[in-house]
């Protein structure tokens, strides 16, 4: 079942280029890469799930020739999958970058990582082992959420600041430098590399008809080291948790995701459609388990506080609204606040920023208020239903499995 993570070494070192070629074979070089990928159902793995080949087609129709930007920043703080790809199977990511670049006739590939992430050095080392048709440039951006937003990366790749920017047209039509700019997640391009090698029938053999292939999932649970697993899309989330006892709720999608009650979450298929139907999101494939003795409200307040500090400082409603939202939620947790104020600030930040930070935070908090309704009552009376009181460990970005 392992495709992206095939051949992963137990000792943790990356596959060399020779090992990579022995495992996957050489990358095919069809004259028209885009035609060879026609009909590929692979969806973007950065969170939004946009069909990857459609994005490439849009860029090519718009004239191509702009850069392909591979997003290996892993800005979703709870995710580890792109780091695993970059540090363990870097050549699959670099192959995929070449596939995307050839598909749109890009002049340059830019691979972006967070400063300080082991992904950067790993990719640099891997690049030195190979010769690529399209020139590859590594780009480090500050280790914060907003740096990894697509328009921020497109801007940084064009020499500008790594900050989200308003754009009237899709980046794949017209990027910051005026040329079509294709921004794709590291797992998305790794999927392209597999698809080009093995073809549609092979690729579609796993997954659902609408969302073929496999997906990397970062699993986090208190007391257990976080890990990354590869599963076919559509796999029930419960299959990742052979011991479902003691689970209170699951945060799906990560810090920009939603809380689901345990029974709903465990039955929900790991796909965009499956998660949406269950009231969640697949996002970048993060699954965080909350135990019965852990307080989901407190956990959410901690995350909201952290996210408030992640604002780039560009957008007034985010700069002011996220700290106010975090504070209102902290007051509710402390038994001196009002839920109505939390809802008011959620409404005030929604849709009023250039990136997904305000909306993501508002939706995460909203789901906590619903799923932890009983806890909310207890906290309103100054108590807490959970003996541990303390929340699930709030992950620090870039801390590897």
């Amino acid at each position: 079942m392992r495709r992206l993570l095939a051949g992963l070494r137990d000792d943790g070192r990356p596959l060399t280029y020779a090992e990579h070629l022995a495992l996957h074979g050489p990358l095919p070089t069809p004259k028209d890469v885009l035609a060879a990928l026609a009909g590929a159902g692979l969806r973007g793995r950065g969170g939004a799930g946009f069909p990857v080949v459609r994005k490439l087609e849009v860029a090519r129709r718009a004239g191509g020739k702009g850069p392909v930007v591979v997003n290996a920043t892993e800005s979703e703080p709870a995710s580890l999958k792109d780091q695993v790809l970059a540090t363990r199977v870097p050549h699959l990511v670099l192959d995929g970058a070449q596939v995307a670049a050839r598909a749109v006739r890009a002049k340059e590939v830019v691979v972006a990582t967070h400063t300080g992430s082991p992904a950067g050095p790993a990719l640099r080392h891997a690049l030195a082992e190979r010769r690529d048709d399209v020139r590859v440039r590594l780009l480090e951006v500050p280790a914060r959420y907003v740096s990894g937003e697509a328009s921020a990366l497109a801007r940084a790749a064009a020499g500008g600041p790594p900050l989200p920017v308003l754009h009237d047209e899709p980046l794949a039509v017209r990027g910051p430098a005026g040329r079509p700019t294709v921004v794709l997640n590291a797992e998305s391009v790794a999927g392209l590399a597999l698809h080009l090698r093995h073809g549609k029938a092979w690729y579609d053999d796993l997954g659902t008809p609408d969302e073929p292939g496999t997906v990397l999932v970062t699993l986090r649970r208190t007391g257990v080291p976080p890990g990354v697993q590869e599963v076919p899309l559509g796999t029930p989330l419960g299959a990742l948790l052979p011991q479902p006892q003691g689970i209170q709720a699951v945060l799906v999608g990560g810090w920009f995701g939603r809380w689901l009650p345990a029974d709903v979450a465990l039955a929900a298929p790991l796909s965009h459609a499956g998660m949406r139907a269950a009231g969640g999101v697949l996002g970048a494939g993060v699954v965080m388990v909350l135990g019965q003795d852990e307080c989901g409200l407190r956990a959410t307040a901690e995350v909201a506080r952290h996210l408030a500090g992640e604002s780039a400082g560009q957008c007034g409603p985010c700069v002011n609204g996220l700290p106010a939202l975090a504070h209102a939620l902290e007051d509710v947790v402390a038994g001196r606040g009002h839920r109505a104020l939390v809802d008011r600030y959620r409404g005030l930040v929604r849709g009023r920023g250039l990136c997904g930070l305000p909306d993501g935070t508002a939706d995460l908090v909203g789901s906590a208020l619903e799923v932890f309704a009983d806890d909310l009552v207890a906290h309103a009376h100054g108590g807490c239903l959970r003996p541990a009181g303390q929340a699930l460990a709030v992950p620090r970005p870039g801390v590897a499995a």
């Binding site: 939004a48 697509a150 794709l184 997640n185 849709g351």
Partner: protein, 82 residues
């Protein structure tokens, strides 16, 4: 409001907006201000009758952060992570 829909909406470039608040003065039927002074677009599609107001508000913005755009144009919010 009468007069039909204009097919346009007000869009704030949040990176440019400094919350001067002049827009809300010129277009009180279309914009309010939040508690920090930043504009809240209160009407989705601008009614034709309110187009002059909307244009005044756009012109009044000292930060050039307000625009009147087709309703169907991209949202100001970028949702993808790439």
């Amino acid at each position: 409001m009468s007069g039909g829909a204009s097919g346009r909406r007000l869009r704030v470039d949040w990176a440019a907006c400094d919350g001067h608040g002049l827009c809300a003065l010129w277009a009180p039927d279309l914009l309010a201000r939040d508690e920090w002074g930043f504009p809240v677009v209160t009407v989705g599609e601008v009614p034709t009758a309110a187009l002059p107001q909307a244009r005044d508000a756009v012109r009044a913005c000292p930060a050039l952060a307000l625009a009147l755009v087709p309703v169907r144009s991209r949202e100001g919010t970028n949702r993808t992570k790439g």
